[in-house]
Amino acid sequence: MVGLATVFGAGGGTSSYREIEDTDVIVLWGSNARFAHPIFFHHVLTGIRNGAKLFVVDPRRTASARWADRWLGLHVGSDIALAHAIGREIIAAGLYHRAFVEGSTTGFDEYRAAVDPWTLERAEAVTGVPADAIRELAHAFANADRAQMCWTLGITEHHNGVDNVLSLINLNLLCGHVGRYGAGINPLRGQNNVQGGGDMGAIPNKLSGFQDILDDDARHKFEGAWNCTIPPHHGKHLTQMFESMERKEIRALYVIGENPAQSEADSGHAIHILEGLEHMVVQDIFLTKTAELADVVLPATAAWCETEGTVTNSERRVQRVRKAIDPPVGARDDTAIIVELAHRMGHPEWDYPDSETIWNELRSLSPMHAGMSYGRLEEHGGIQWPCPSNDTFEPSFLHGRLWAENLADRGRLAPFSPVPWAGPVDLLSDEFPIRLTTGRRLDSYNTGVQSGAIASPLRQGETLDLNPDDAMRLGIDEHELVLVSSRRGSIKAPVRFDSHLRPGLAFMTFHFPDEIDVNVLTIEANDPKSGTAEFKASAIRVEKLQAPADTHLPVAGQ
């Protein structure tokens, strides 16, 4: 969200899903949408069947990559190098959209200078992607009338995730692939309301509707409505919070619907920090690992089927969630709990009888949501933001202003970002020669607290996926239990052969932390700009276990 907000002011994907069906070139970068966003991938498939070319950039030849006209299997963490090489090739071949670059962007010269060293040859050496593949993508992307750039955690879960995103946005700016129907830039959100959280202001630097917290007018508007003073400075993102907790500056924590004890990189360290808190309240529908550490646990209702409200998806569509079943005895709505807390803290004036009241307050404060009454959301199956008017809709894509006839109407021009390339922090060495990357499987979700209940015939449990040749060299058989070590710790995991992995690359998920805690291995190097951790690039070593191991599932982090 940070990357898009930096360039365009609004942190949301610029196109609707439907547009990807009508585009000419689709680039999925660091996204295994086939597994992680299956129904979005349906729209990609429709695009492919309509003739669009698909390029997938991913270290793994994922299920998505196998649908690609061309797969670019880059080394983990070399994304910026590859993006810059593509940009350089587009410029060198004279294929960039001169009018758009000159009229609607800023910083082209710096960008050109930044990418200039990234010849195809150098990029091939750094990224491992053959020069002809880079050229093919560059030319297809630039020559397309409409192209879509999409990414997921494969791009953001790095120590320099925001720079990764910016390097991709550069390419769309270069070719004018934004602000038009069918051309756009789309981050796919990992969770059902990541976008909505941002929309509502649950980020350190924005109020609801992406209004800047440093903007006095905006702040005063909210202060008036809420009858309180809002601190005029940025808050902390997750990594900064953990750092503050470690320094004992933050001593109490209120966790709503998160499971940081298992979802953070280097989880041993995370638990240690949480244990050092003076007071922790956890509000969740499950007794998670984090909740087990809490002083107070507030049982909540499942937002998607036990309460009323809204969520926002990856195409900025705000949609209603509705109550279908009664919650278990004792569980209460998140909002009811918060209001009750406010009452007990001495604010009896908090009066929200239902979710619609809260929503209407939001509409009165956030112009981009103003036109989204519950009635309209119902009638239209959700509405994409921005929707300032009660009567009309905006186009399904964002930033059409950049194509306005008059310069004055184009608003703030979109800046290029001449970001530097830096490889993964966790370097490969003789001691840790294998690159471990993480991701999702189709039938599982995050730490598995919800998806674990699916009686999925697909589930195989956590495995260390290895290229069969690598395994053979190490004398490891399929299903054998092995010791996996990084600079931070070791776990045991059974091996699964995957011929779609390149030699030297290993893969694990983070779906089964109770059995195998992958985050014992991952590195807690965080992106200073977004606070997202580097889950995607750890250096590991795989060893045979001494004695023939018992075949039972291993215990996490020894």
Binding site: S16, Y17, R18, D22, A36, H37, P38, I39, H42, L45, R49, Y181, L188, R189, G190, Q191, N192, N193, Q195, I285, F286, L287, P299, A302, A303, W304, C305, E306, V311, T312, N313, S314, Q319, R320, V321, R322, K323, A324, I325, D326, G330, A331, E379, H380, G381, G382, I383, F393, P395, S396, L442, D443, Y445, Q450, S451, A453, I454, A455, S456, P457
Partner: protein, 293 residues
């Protein structure tokens, strides 16, 4: 539901006028005769037609007479042409519809197919006339229960191709199931009829979503039907949003006794067109099975 503006580039479509049962009906170019019949308020039975799928026009229960044609025409797939004169309800169309219902009824268990019993009466269909109803149920076979999520009861299958198209190129592109064999031996099958866990099935349930006869069924529904506890009259449907990834698929939760018993998705919603992945389709158990205190 009318989705908000989607394609700002489409040209306005011209209107075409045709005659249905003596009345002039105006519909946009590209509409089918079935669409026109809907506009006209004419009731036409359909079985293999799917509102999210390309018509295969295989069942032929929707046939109408279009003047100037030697044979009857499937209304679900034939596009309107200016000046078409359509008769939907004369002796000839009624005969073919009756025969289709009789022929299907003589070979398939249609008891879980909505509407069909009503059409049987409306068209005076008598499937038993081909011989003893039980011996004529030529495709009767045991229910396939090979996983915990959904079951396949091909004695209910009318071979409408919808599940194959939903699993295949039109939506899911997993190609786990196909029509195998030929003629009366044609049947829905995996390769060499292996069980679903050995097939390419990814348990999205998009086949269940389109099956018109209950041949494909949630295991929950199947079990409740077996136990005689399935009670559609008692059920409520609530549409909400999937709790998993950020795509935002709409789920319609079918609940009975405060329990989710199956999940569908609205066919007219632009995100899903009725399709879901395994998480959205079957990932509801955590709110009912886990102890959550």
């Amino acid at each position: 539901m009318t989705m908000m503006h989607e394609t700002p580039v489409a040209l306005p479509r011209r209107a075409v006028t045709i005659t249905i049962d003596g009345d002039e009906v105006k519909v946009p170019e590209g509409a089918t005769i079935l669409d026109a019949c809907k506009v006209h308020g004419t009731d036409v039975p359909t079985l293999c037609y799917g509102d999210t799928l390309d018509p295969v026009n295989a069942c032929r229960v929707c046939v109408v007479e279009v003047e100037g044609n030697r044979v009857l025409i499937p209304s679900c797939s034939r596009k309107v042409e200016p000046g078409m004169v359509v008769n939907t309800d004369n002796e000839r169309t009624r005969h073919s519809r009756r025969m289709v219902l009789e022929l299907l009824g003589s070979s398939v268990d249609l008891s879980a197919a909505p509407n069909v019993q009503g059409w049987m009466q409306q068209y005076d269909a008598d499937p038993a006339r081909f011989g003893d109803a039980n011996t004529m149920r030529t495709v009767q076979q045991p229910v396939k229960v090979d996983n915990d999520l959904y079951v396949r009861d091909y004695s209910r299958c009318i071979l409408c191709y919808k599940c194959v198209d939903a699993c295949g190129e039109q939506w899911q592109n997993s190609f786990a199931i196909t029509v195998a064999g030929r003629g009366f031996d044609a049947h829905i099958s995996t390769e060499f009829d292996v069980g679903l866990p050995d097939s390419a099935c990814v348990y999205c349930g998009n086949c269940i979503e389109v099956c018109p006869t209950g041949a494909l069924m949630f295991k929950t529904e199947h079990d409740m039907r077996q136990a005689n506890t399935w009670n559609e009259a008692e059920q409520r449907q609530t549409t909400t949003v999937c709790p998993y990834c950020g795509v935002g698929c709409n789920l319609t939760l079918h609940t009975q006794d405060n329990t989710i018993v199956k999940v569908t998705s609205p066919h007219d919603h632009a995100i899903t067109s009725g399709n879901l992945c395994i998480k959205g389709r079957f990932g509801f158990q955590h709110v009912q099975t886990f102890a959550r205190d």
